[in-house]
Symmetry: C2
Subunit: 181 residues, 2 copies
Amino acid sequence: MLRSAIKHCRECGSGVVYRVPDDGDTRQRAVCPSCHTIHYENPLNVVGTVPYWGDKVLLCKRNIEPRFGKWTLPAGFMELNETTAEGAARETVEEAGAQFEMQGLFTMLSVARVGQVHLFFRARLTSDQFDPGTETIEARLFAEDEIPWDELAFRTTKETLDRYFADRRTGVFSVHTIDIA
Amino acid sequence: MLRSAIKHCRECGSGVVYRVPDDGDTRQRAVCPSCHTIHYENPLNVVGTVPYWGDKVLLCKRNIEPRFGKWTLPAGFMELNETTAEGAARETVEEAGAQFEMQGLFTMLSVARVGQVHLFFRARLTSDQFDPGTETIEARLFAEDEIPWDELAFRTTKETLDRYFADRRTGVFSVHTIDIA
């Protein structure tokens, strides 16, 4: 979901101009010169899980761009009309066909450069059989020393796995707030 | 920031139709019949703080709609190119003119009905003098028994304050994930 500049007004279809609105705002927005609609652009949430089975974690090999063929924790864009946990569970079903019990929030990662916030919950797998959807080539369990660290799709996956295995060693899982430059 | 249906394509200005795209998607999206752009609509993040000074918490009396004249924790829509904590700090400066030190994430509230996620951080005030911006009539410190519970602007403020004073009694602040129906 790449962001391109808004060219036309969603209300009336006229060409927009980027400028600071006259309402006290301090940022440039796409403003419609015809109907005066101001178009706000805001960060997107990506929601997912760390699904675990004993000492192993479930990763999915991506069957889609970006990062085709690389490994990721199940995650995707949060939709309207769902909670963060519901979205994370939905993505885990869609991408891995996994069966699990949702647990607490684990990482919140801000990726300011691309305007995203990633939210990962721990999820206790209740089966080690998976039925991945069309977005996934393969869903597989990895112990810490089997993780394909050089073949991970995203920094958010790597940072979350780092924290997961570190907390697992202490036996105490906390919530981690992480900024990705 | 009310959501209305998208009427025109942001790329070419043609009228859009709401339908399930042909790419395997399962949800209705605003699709452009001319240039085939698919317009995704996703939840918005509201970021803010629980600014505290001793046993008191800072609330702002709203000078804007919605909920003009009601009391709220400082919070607003997260912008592109900032982290969740940076956005929360920015809103606290804009709405209260407060001086503070940012602390950890405290509540994450999903408000699925309106497609929002609210994220509140604790913030230790370093001064009890405030300089509220134009969006705020008054910024004032309240002890727990002074909180205007019936004059709070939002459920997310009430739920966050409930958790804050409860955790304060135990002396241990955890991260709370809350769903607002």
